[in-house]
Amino acid sequence: MSLGRRGGLVALLAPAVVFIVFLFIYPFLYGLVLSFSDPSGSFTLANYERFFGDWWERRTIWVTLWISLPVTVASVALAVPFAYYMRRGIRGEKVITFFLIVPITLGTVLVSEGMLTYMGPTGWLNQLLMAIGVVAKPVRFTHNYWGVAISLLIQGFPFSFLMLLGYISGISPDLERASQMLGASRIQTFLRVTFPLMVPGIAISFCLSFVAAFSVFPSAVLLGEPSGPTRVISISAYHWAFEEFNFNVASAISIVMAAIELLVISGVLVWRNRMYRGASIVGKG
């Protein structure tokens, strides 16, 4: 019986394990090995030196963080009050969530392509701003930092919002009522009960939004200045892999990317555990 059970278990898990080993772990380890080897295959740190030693390459980290961190913070900071406002459902919720899911589904490429015209010098947005009289000359929204940041926000905000909305609707409304009955005003209830309970959800949505923003690629090329101010780390990795065909340096950059992300994610999780000591005990939240 025990042997049969174990055999069954192995059979059930085998396809998924084979899949993850061959398509994820093996490539990742392969990349790790490549990043520490020279073209002849012997061990070297030159690939990392090449990245960190070159100011032009090294600064892609700051460029990427400089775009992705503010955008992620803004997305989540905007998402929290919106999710809070809609936690009990409101009229027109379906229409609103539909418009939120559209940019996520369509993806960066289409949004960037649309933004080029819509937010361009003669696009509708500038026409509107000038007609209202907010600005006298067209504002430059594209081919700079702001183009990339806006495109990331257009996707990052609904992503964080919908995630938080799913999370917040799982918090029992009785907890807010209980807080009120104990004498807490609406603001006190938010600060002392609702927000702390949202922390795990905020942490997760921050992590996932950050991962998406940090690996920004198509919009940094199409909407930014890929040869300068918005030369992000994924452009650099792509450049080394498919334009220089130096897979060793490209792998090193990929590893650096993954490492930075894991670093930020673990930082967020540490913060979450500080904020929410009950988390490990409460489990489901």
Binding site: L12, T108, Y118, I154, Y238
Partner: protein, 271 residues
Amino acid sequence: MRGKFGLSGILFVIAIVVYVGNVLGILLTVILDSVSKRWYSGVLPHFLTTQWYAYVAQDHDIVNLLVVTFVVAFAVVLISILIAMPAAYALSRYEFAGKGLLLSLFLLPMIVPPIAYGIPLAMVLYKARLAARVIGVILANLVPIVPFMILILMPFIEQVGANLESAAQMLGARRPTIFFKILVPLALPGVFTAGILSIVKTISTFELTYLVAGGRSQTIVVALYADAYAAGARPPEAVDALAVIYFLTAMICLVVALRFVSPTQMVFKIR
């Protein structure tokens, strides 16, 4: 809160209007631009034309792009169901040593960004002579979808309940019978949900496909990016015409998907 409109309500409505207005603006510009002749200024274009669609049809093998896009999407979904279903079953029914480790391993591809693991993956696929072929595109797209599928399926399987299976066993059913007669029909809604979400996701996946696709194994998004990237090579209206074709493809899938799942479900599980 219903019916009462305080300051927060007004701010909320303004923000939503601004957001929806911009999204609509972006989409409408793409659509209008694709059917206009020389729309460089003014609120609306002066002449409408379908010439850019003719241009795109000549420029690209549209049928091939669509076929590849859907073949990849459906193949990825079918293969990932076959891989994910047994794994999700094992993970939600059995306790075993290393289960937590295995679960976090399956989660990893959802946390690590596609570019970071996509480049080494592309190199492996090139070495195996699988890249620049539809099969390579399918393999690459499996990486984020299988874990996603496992995560969606697990709660559905847990919902079916182990006692239902015990009941069937008491009634004399054998393991395979239980699996196909009890579990599969009852978990079908979950499989369906996971499948539809995965199709929508795969159609719009850009980075992974871009890194491994080439020539006739491109999907529509990748072709669109390539056109937009080489901005000077063709008229911008023609790029927008291709964008509209992609937009329609993705929207049809989204609208179909939204008949069965809610937007919150899509995001919470997506990515």
